[in-house]
Homo-oligomer: 405 residues x 2
């Protein structure tokens, strides 16, 4: 019988506790022995909860209980999650987490401590919720050199975009609907400004390229500026708008990473990822494109990923998993001005079309009776910004985003 502790009894934490009860028999079979939640840490009052007798308020109890071999951290945020994670690892316990903020900000530090203590720091649930993606990249694609990863990493914004596309709702209307459905928080900024997706692409980039890519060095743009004009014009070009996190190995060996809205061809599997689902495309130099699709959030999907990591930490208690990366600073991150892409630009004004043609030369217009946009040839961000600045002097630029191709 293996004992674990769960920190935080919110959506994910309570899901993990439930899951180990619901699937107890099959988990015992897979882990080779039963796994039991011995403690739950939450400062709130759960004295009426069915698991009331498991609650403790003092993390020290867990830290000092040698029977607890795995600590599950689902508190979220950095405080007290950072402190608890560090203390658990230092006490020689493996830590499993769904806390993307903590992994993105402090992953390298925790991975180093885990290595020194010969325990595991596992975080499959931090990207893509229930979707198996980090371990498949690290293990199943181990024979590949990963070139590029891009994906829909945030379910809230994907729901909003899907509703704008399918039901013609404005961004504001789609956002309030998402809030009513419980998909968006009352303060939705972490989602709609792209910060959540940014943490996830940083984790994916770190794993794929072996160096910690910190969110501080990665530009994130959300979907607040996407309008129904953009949605409609994208549709005319047989594309849909999706918020993508993207990372790619730069020619100089550094790592490109960013988050932003994109026009995505409808023929791309990523375009078929709708509503709150996530989809992550991984390109390896041998396998080519593979995509991982599923629920990117939610109580039981996230608990599913957390619990698989727990089982793994129990089964491989004597053998560390080599899922991780080295620490690195800003020098690991490539300057985006060299990143090449096609761009979509929506313009307005009498001479806008001719100005666009003069500034960008080789472009394709998308028109309808209400709006005009164009798609550029592939160029570096630096070149695009230079040409866009020239265009801006002669015409109004209403919106711009990258095009996936």
């Amino acid at each position: 019988m293996k004992k674990i502790a769960v920190l935080g009894y919110g959506t994910v934490g309570s899901g993990v506790v439930d899951l180990f009860e619901i699937n107890a028999a099959s988990i015992a079979k897979k882990a080779g022995e039963p796994i039991e939640v011995k403690y739950i840490v939450d400062i709130r009052d759960f004295s009426q909860d069915k698991n009331a007798e498991k609650f403790v308020k003092d993390f020290g109890v867990i830290e000092n209980d040698p029977e607890v071999s795995v600590v599950v951290e689902t508190i979220g945020g950095t405080n007290p999650a950072y402190d608890f994670t560090k203390r658990a690892l230092l006490a020689g316990k493996s830590v499993v987490t769904s806390n993307k903020e903590l992994v993105a900000k402090h992953g390298a530090e925790f991975l180093q401590i885990a290595k020194e203590k010969n325990v595991n720091y596992l975080f499959e649930a931090s990207v893509g919720g229930g979707i198996p993606v980090l371990r498949p990249i690290a293990q199943c694609l181990a024979a590949n050199e990963i070139d590029e990863i891009y994906g829909i990493l945030n379910g809230t914004t994907n729901y909003i975009l899907t509703r704008m596309i399918k039901a013609g709702l404005t961004f504001e209307k789609a956002l309030s609907e998402a809030q009513e459905m419980g998909y968006a928080e009352r303060d939705p900024s972490a989602d709609i400004e792209g910060h959540d997706a940014c943490r996830k692409i940083c984790i994916l980039a770190s794993l794929a390229f072996g160096r910690h890519i910190y969110p501080d060095y990665v530009k994130a743009e959300g979907i607040t500026k996407v309008t129904l004009d953009d949605v409609r014009l994208a549709g005319k070009a047989d594309m849909v708008i999706r918020l993508l996190g993207r990372t790619k190995l730069a020619p100089d060996g550094k790592v490109f990473a960013y988050v932003g809205p994109h026009l995505v061809p409808k023929s791309s599997p990523i375009a078929s990822v709708e509503d709150v689902f996530n989809g992550i495309m991984v390109h390896g130099n041998m396998v080519g494109d593979t995509m991982f699709y599923g629920p990117g959030a939610g109580k039981y999907p996230t608990a599913s990923a957390v619990s698989a990591d727990v089982i793994d930490a129990v089964v491989h208690a004597d053998k560390r998993r080599d899922i991780g990366w080295d620490d690195a600073g800003e020098e690991a991150v490539a300057d985006m001005s060299a990143f090449t892409s096609k761009y979509y630009v929506r313009i307005e004004g009498e001479s806008a079309r001719s100005a666009a043609t003069q500034s960008f030369k080789d472009i394709e217009f998308i028109d309808d009776s209400h709006a005009t946009a164009f798609i550029t040839a592939e160029m570096s961000e630096a070149e695009f910004e230079r040409k866009l600045a020239a265009l801006s002097e002669r015409s109004e630029v209403l919106s711009r985003m990258r095009v996936l191709y």
Copy 2:
């Protein structure tokens, strides 16, 4: 330095040999030491090949070389692959394979020997080519009870169906195109009759439900009867035709498994899997639906999956992977007559519509000027066959297939 042997120098085998050369540096880093191909076994003459000095014709050399810890079997078919695999395992070497026929027919036996010898028998490449799917099911979804798996498991037939749908080619035309492109073999029967997909769904079913499901007990129908009328009518109902392998836990604890063409709603992610790509949807009781997408065949994608297994076998030489299942007989397989589905039926004849309504009651017609079909309510196969027999007496039934919903 770890030494391996590669059996068979065809498409996949030569891909594996290439891959360990191309990605040597990154593989050495991940495996903790370099991995070198010491022997290649092929009865054909490769004396002019760049790897000529590695070729041996006698498998006994490998069997008796204690330096070889992993044997890669990419010969295909059962003879001599069966014999070589067994001898390698009995000699205490791990075996990695892309040979779905062998895994589907003899997996339980090899898994048992591997267990006794404390080595690994790994076969990620046997399903979905380069797509990581078996290991994610076994490990990343370990906290789930898997309820159902369905997917596009054969790239050749998916290419043919895609060309019928997108270019309006007949089955025959699309097949010869696939043959010209090298996607279909000169004798295409294993693909178009569904036997290849059948082996793969058997492997998935065995892994998901823990009992060997033998192809002999699983009904496979291919795509040879699919016509452009069916493709067109499916399109009118906002669906596409896809050849699916499908397995599901039956209420009595047995395992449903079959292969057959289906109407799939365009809104399903499986519908967006086009051309030679594969997509496998896995439903777990906690995670819900997750899909794995990518290249289902091809030299380097398949070599990618094989080589990841090799790395894993090297890294975990001292600790067996628990990916496997127990042997079982026909009693493990559920009788399909109890399997419930909606059905698509295409009919012809003057009184066909009224006969269909009388036989099936609650149906939805799909019509165009050339053809008529209908979609039934959900019912068991037994009920469907009974009603279809009644209908057949009064009207001509031209085609029928299941509908995914």
